[in-house]
């Protein structure tokens, strides 16, 4: 049961930690580029974590009701909605991200940016937290040997949080131009991942038609391997995605890539990038 708990908790914590690290790196970039602490005034991280845990608790308490709705595919519909909303907000975040130097331009958008970040992180914690609660609640309710599960949970959470912290330091340790490039790239991959997950869930609920598998790379990188799990959490890797999933992924990617911030990140005027 130890390994079990590790894999489960790690998977969930990792996804939430990566999103949080990514957004924090963006905020740091913004503060650095504008020369003032624009977004640290509001304690949005704590707010969204509390909101996420609270919503996850409500979700877990109404799990059966949600699951039984929509002719037993309520879970897929809810999760697909959460994923679509996250994808939309990540794209919106990219479009709202200020690219001009003026403080007015920045203040004007800061509320929108905070809204996107709070909701994205809240939704991530809701998604991942509710699954951990289901797992933990079931185990505890049965009064089974708790110690291996507890150890497993600690190890999973430890690996997940450490990876998030190190990712944040890696992103912020880069030069300001490279940091922005890496952040935008990760943001686009995350948006694509969310879109692809939403499609997969709707497929599972039979709300979207079947499309053939686009490729099979399970021989190259198995989804059940440690690396495969990491790639799944980081960029939404699937060994056998359907054509529709791939299209959705590319669409999410595309909308971030055409955003002004992405053009700024790859613009040839590097000094412009370093001094928004």
């Amino acid at each position: 049961m130890f390994l079990n708990a590790v894999v489960l908790v790690l998977q969930e914590i990792l996804e939430a930690a990566l999103i949080l690290s990514l957004l924090l790196a963006f905020v740091r970039y913004l503060n650095l580029a504008s020369g003032e602490r624009v977004l640290s005034r509001r304690n949005w991280v704590v707010t969204s974590i509390i909101a996420g845990v609270f919503l996850a608790w409500i979700f877990s308490n109404n799990f059966s009701r949600i699951s039984n709705s929509f002719d037993y595919v309520g879970l897929e519909i809810t999760n697909a909605s959460i994923h679509s909303a996250s994808c939309f907000l990540l794209v919106l975040f990219a479009w709202l991200f200020p690219v001009k130097r003026s403080v007015a331009h920045l203040n004007h958008r800061s509320l929108g940016l905070i809204f996107c970040m709070v909701v994205v992180v809240t939704l991530a914690i809701l998604r991942e937290g509710s699954e951990i609660m289901q797992f933990g609640g079931g185990i505890l309710g049965q009064g089974q040997a708790g110690l291996p599960i507890f150890y497993g949970g600690v190890v999973g959470a430890g690996i997940g949080v450490s990876t998030g912290v190190l990712l944040y330091y890696a992103l912020t340790g880069l030069s300001i131009e490279n940091s922005l490039k890496a952040c935008v790239l990760l943001l686009s991959l995350t948006a694509g991942n969310m879109a692809s997950q939403a499609i997969l869930l709707l497929n599972q609920a039979d709300w979207l038609p079947f499309t053939p598998t686009a490729w099979d790379s399970s021989g190259l990188l198995s989804e059940s391997s440690v690396l495969g799990q990491l790639a799944y959490a980081l960029i939404g890797y699937e060994a056998t995605p359907s054509i529709m999933q791939v299209s959705a992924y590319l669409l999410g990617l595309f909308f971030v890539i055409i955003s002004p911030i992405s053009r700024l990140a790859w613009s040839t005027w590097h000094d412009e990038a370093s001094q928004i």
């Binding site: 049961m1 079990n4 894999v7 489960l8 799990f63 059966s64 699951s67 039984n68 002719d71 037993y72 595919v73 879970l75 897929e76 479009w95 690219v99 001009k100 699954e131 289901q134 797992f135 609640g137 079931g138 185990i139 309710g141 049965q142 997969l200 497929n203 599972q204 609920a205 039979d206 979207l208 038609p209 079947f210 499309t211 399970s218 198995s222 989804e223 059940s224 699937e238 060994a239 056998t240 995605p241 359907s242 529709m244 299209s247 669409l251 595309f254 055409i258 955003s259 002004p260 700024l264």
Partner: protein
């Protein structure tokens, strides 16, 4: 920059529309090919799947009704089928799979993988 951003948004709606219409067209095609969905039952009891081998016809969509008789939740998971779904204690749910090519597709209960193991065989 925001004006030019808006400009590029309108510029970029072209490809987006093409992708969307392709998706819609695709959904019509598959909708037409849709046959009556076959339903099979999978029970979870004492963290075991019954039957542990699900034999289904290949190239056909199948609706699996998963009934959890245990007092604990379980998560149906399969990397090969790309499926993942939590089933609450003492409840049931449905999972759509396929159409699948001929082959074996292992699945397991993520919460109790030591015992909850099974395989879907598409023939």
């Amino acid at each position: 920059m925001s004006e030019s951003a808006m400009l590029s948004m309108t510029k970029n709606t072209g490809p987006m529309l093409i992708v969307l219409s392709l998706l819609i067209a695709l959904s019509f095609v598959t909708e037409l090919a849709k046959a009556e969905t076959l339903e099979v039952e999978l029970r979870i009891r004492d963290h075991l799947f019954f039957p542990s081998t699900l034999i289904i016809p290949a190239n056909q969509k199948v609706k699996i009704r998963v009934i959890n008789e245990d007092p604990t939740p379980e998560e149906f998971e399969s990397f090969e089928l790309n499926r993942e779904k939590v089933i609450a204690a003492h409840s049931q749910t449905v999972i759509f799979i396929g159409p699948l090519e001929v082959g074996e597709y292992p699945f397991f209960g993520e919460f109790y993988p030591k015992t909850a193991q099974g395989v879907v065989v598409a023939k």
